[in-house]
Symmetry: C2
Subunit: 251 residues, 2 copies
DNA sequence: CTTACCCATTGATATAGGTCAAAGAGCCTT
DNA sequence: AAGGCTCTTTGACCTATATCAATGGGTAAG
């Protein structure tokens, strides 16, 4: 058995601690509460959610679903990291997001997914059959309101990303990206530095509208400017956050 | 009185025809049905919507609201065109969308608007006080579902735009933009060509992540390639749609 | 009718970031 | 421990698009 396979197996083992919230009932299938969505729900609602959920584990690089495939499930990341992206016919790729524990994906208005999704690291997710989730939403308008709030928030995030893609320089893009990862880590209860950067330079480039080489050069530049320290194995220390903040907006 | 003022006055006069749908009840204040949102509503629901709505008219370039201002209202465009955008501290601008009759704007999860909004042409909108609209949503979950659908759709559109901004060439961007305008015109019951392009080259550039000059050069290029004909006064004929389709994706 | 302004277009030049190429640096596997 | 991946870094060069500058054209004001 290869190390890859062992790691993949072991991804099943650790059980993330239940989050605090209005209710402590964990999901029956994956033994975690459904984070974002459940934060506002009561025991009965969480129980109903748990009844329709199942668990999914993925190794690095494994696909979850492809763009244009029928959108049969909605997912909630519980551990690891997921990348979502769109492709052009000739293979050019645009990451539209990196998702971490608590994030939802697969919500679609149309009958098919609008993007492809793939694991970045060893990842676990909860899977909700879309039809059954929708039935539940009919029953609990409060959940639906929560989903609307999440969608509105993601829309604001998407617009911020458009500003980055359309109008920021490479340095501004990379500085913004590192600050974003740091803020998200804090949201998940981790430290704001050093941060974990589990995705490749190529993935980062496809997220920021840059090439691998430009991302690499820009990291070197930020390192030389004393704004960051590369600690190896995907850890980056934000040693001068103020400088990064200034750089992320264009001085 | 200047011509500008006369035009602005006259923007109040024309009353758009009621749309077909489940109910024909027009809004009491603006005498149109609330398009996207109302398409699935019954008479009682439309009446309740009409009770909280008021009408707004704007001339070209007039602001509707600014980013970071308290999000007190939600709007529905009933005539004209609106641009929404975000700014960097040094003035660089990214349009995040052009909105046409039927489009909603101002929905926000946070307490403030995520972007600024400004009229492109003489424009009329319906204004819904956010608090009162939210109260209505509690009462009518079906409306909320409709809003969730709209938000999900906009999210998919935003992701498509990220692909454009991050990975397409100038030619692909402009071709995609013209096809987008054409498709949206059809949705509003207009012809797919010639299309009305009411915004300036500069606005288009800020939407596509390009400069005025590059947009202008690219229009010339498409014209020379026989893909479009510039008819003056903001009308563009898509004379070779197939060529545009091919160009919009990178051959 | 004339002037003034704004916007679009075109040209010349500069540059940020892309492309191509090669050399490390970690790893997993054997 | 050695070989072979894959990913990152660095260098040299190139090109798409930005920038700077000038001209033209349409429309509104006087």
């Amino acid at each position: 058995m290869t190390l890859f396979e062992i790691r993949k197996m072991s991804a099943r083992l650790p059980t993330p601690a239940p989050r605090t919230g209005r209710s402590e009932s964990p999901c029956a299938a994956c033994n975690v509460r459904h984070l974002t969505l459940c934060a506002a729900l009561d025991d009965q609602e969480v129980a109903d959610m748990s009844a329709i959920v199942s668990s999914v584990e993925l190794g690095p690089g494994e696909p979850l679903f492809d763009e244009a495939e029928p959108a049969k499930n909605v997912f909630n990341v519980t551990a690891g990291a997921v990348k979502i992206y769109k492709l052009l016919p000739d293979g050019r790729r645009q990451m539209t997001g990196f998702l971490f524990p608590g994030d939802f994906l697969g919500l679609a208005n149309e009958e098919t997914y609008a993007y492809s999704a793939e694991a970045v690291t060893f990842t676990t997710l909860c899977r909700f059959p879309r039809k059954r989730l929708e039935a539940l939403l009919e029953q609990y308008p409060r959940m639906e309101r929560r989903l609307l709030g999440m969608a509105s928030h993601e829309l604001a995030v998407a617009q911020e990303q458009m500003l980055l893609l359309g109008r920021k320089t490479a340095r501004e893009k990379v500085a913004s990206f590192l600050l974003l990862l740091s803020r998200r880590a804090v949201q998940r209860g981790q430290k704001d530095s050093p941060i974990s950067v589990p995705m490749s330079r190529n993935d980062i480039g496809d997220y920021l509208g840059l090439t691998t080489e430009t991302v690499s050069r820009t990291f070197t530049l930020l390192k030389q400017a004393g704004a960051i320290v590369l600690q190896g194995s995907g850890k980056v220390e934000l040693s001068d956050r103020a400088a990064l903040e200034v750089m992320s907006d264009g001085v």
